[in-house]
Symmetry: none
Subunit: 201 residues, 2 copies
C-alpha cells in the first residue's frame, strides 16, 4: 500500500480495521498525519467507542459492517464532494522550490533564501519541521502533532523538544526573531505557519 501510495495518485481510501499486520487505525493515523487523503473506515467494529476513536484519529467517515453498498457509495460521494481538488496534492510538496512569506526553500539543498539573496543552511531537524509546517499553512499544530510528524515519536510529559526546534528555526527564518510573524505561537495549543505557500517548478 505504501509503495502504491508513493507512486500513484489516489482520491480516497476505504480502510478496514482488523487486518493481519499493521492495524487499520494505525494506518489511518499515519496517513492522516502526513498526507491529506480522505479516508473512510469500513469495519466490523461498530460500537460507539470504535466509531469515535476512528473519527478522532483522522478518518473522514466511519461505516460499520454489515453495510449497504449504496450507502458506502453515498458516503464516498459525500466525502469527495467536500474534498477540494487541490487537496490531493496540497500536502505533497514535491516541487523543488517553495515560496512562502518572502522566502524560498530549496527542498533539495535544504537552503532558505530571502529577498536579499541571503542563504541559510537548514539542518535536517529544521528542514523536517519547516516542511511539516509548510504542508499545513495557517493551521495550528500541537507540539504532540509536530513531534509525531517530524520525529515519529510521542511526547513525554515534560517534552520541550518542539519549543526548542521552533526557537532554532525562527532564528533562521524570522526577520525579527523577537517578534515572529511567520511562525506564531498559539498559547496552550501549539504553533502555526502564517503564510501562503506556493510550489514552484
Amino acid at each position: 500500500m505504501d509503495e502504491k501510495l508513493a507512486k500513484g495518485h489516489y482520491d480516497l481510501m476505504v480502510l478496514d480495521v482488523m487486518m493481519p499486520g499493521e492495524d487499520g487505525l494505525s494506518i489511518c493515523k499515519r496517513l492522516s498525519a502526513e498526507k491529506r487523503l480522505p479516508i473512510i473506515m469500513l469495519t466490523a467494529l461498530g460500537q460507539d467507542q470504535d466509531r469515535i476513536v476512528g473519527l478522532e484519529i483522522g478518518a473522514d467517515d466511519y461505516l460499520p459492517k454489515p453495510f449497504n453498498p449504496r450507502e458506502l457509495l453515498a458516503r464516498i460521494k459525500a466525502v469527495l464532494r467536500r474534498a477540494p481538488e487541490e487537496m490531493s496534492e496540497a500536502g505533497a510538496l514535491s516541487g523543488r522550490i517553495l515560496r512562502f512569506g518572502g522566502l524560498a526553500l530549496d527542498t533539495d539543498a535544504h537552503v532558505i533564501t530571502d529577498r536579499d539573496g541571503n542563504r541559510v543552511q537548514l539542518t535536517t531537524a529544521d528542514f523536517r519541521l519547516l516542511t511539516v509546517l509548510l504542508a499545513r499553512p495557517r493551521t495550528v499544530l500541537s507540539r504532540e502533532q509536530l513531534l509525531d510528524l517530524t520525529a515519529g515519536r510521542a511526547a513525554g510529559p515534560l517534552d520541550r523538544t518542539i519549543d526548542n526546534q521552533i526557537s532554532r528555526l525562527r532564528r533562521k527564518i524570522e526577520t525579527d526573531a523577537l517578534r515572529p510573524t511567520l511562525i506564531t505561537t498559539v498559547r496552550s495549543h501549539g504553533y502555526s505557519l502564517n503564510a501562503d505557500v506556493e510550489v514552484i517548478a
Copy 2:
C-alpha cells in the same frame, strides 16, 4: 434560520429531518445548492434508505438517533477538518488586513496599527477575542458566548475572565480606555464591537 444565515457566519449545521413546517431534507437540498455550508443530518429516521437519501441530497454526514453525543462531536470535527479553510471563520480572516474604527489588524503578525502608525502587539488571547468580535460586528455577545468562542470552554459561576480580557484589550486598542467607544459594554448582557469591518487584500 434563513434570517440568521443571511446575517451571520456559520461553520456547520446540524439538521433534524422531521420538523413542523419545512422538512429537513428540503432545507438540506436548498442549502447545499446555494451555499457551501457543511450539514450533518441528525434524525430518528435510521433506515439505510433514509441515510442514502440524506447523503445524496447533499448532507455531509448522517447520524441516526439515538446517538452518542461524543460521536456527534467526533463527526462534527471530522466534517470541519475536511471543510475548505475559506469556509471556516478562522480561514475567512487569515492572511488579511482588517480595518475597523480607524485601526488595522494584521491577522498574520497579530499587530494593531493605528492612524499614526503606532503598532501594538496582541497576545494570543487578545487576538482571539478581537477576532471573534470582528467576525460579528455590532452584535452583542454574552460572556458565555465569548468564552466559548475564544477558549472553547464554559463559564464558571463567578467567571470574570472575559471582563478581564476585554479590559486588557481595551487598553491596547481604545484611544481613551476610560470611555471606550470601540468595544462597548451592554449592561447585564455582554459586549459588542461598535465599528464596521473592512477586509483588505
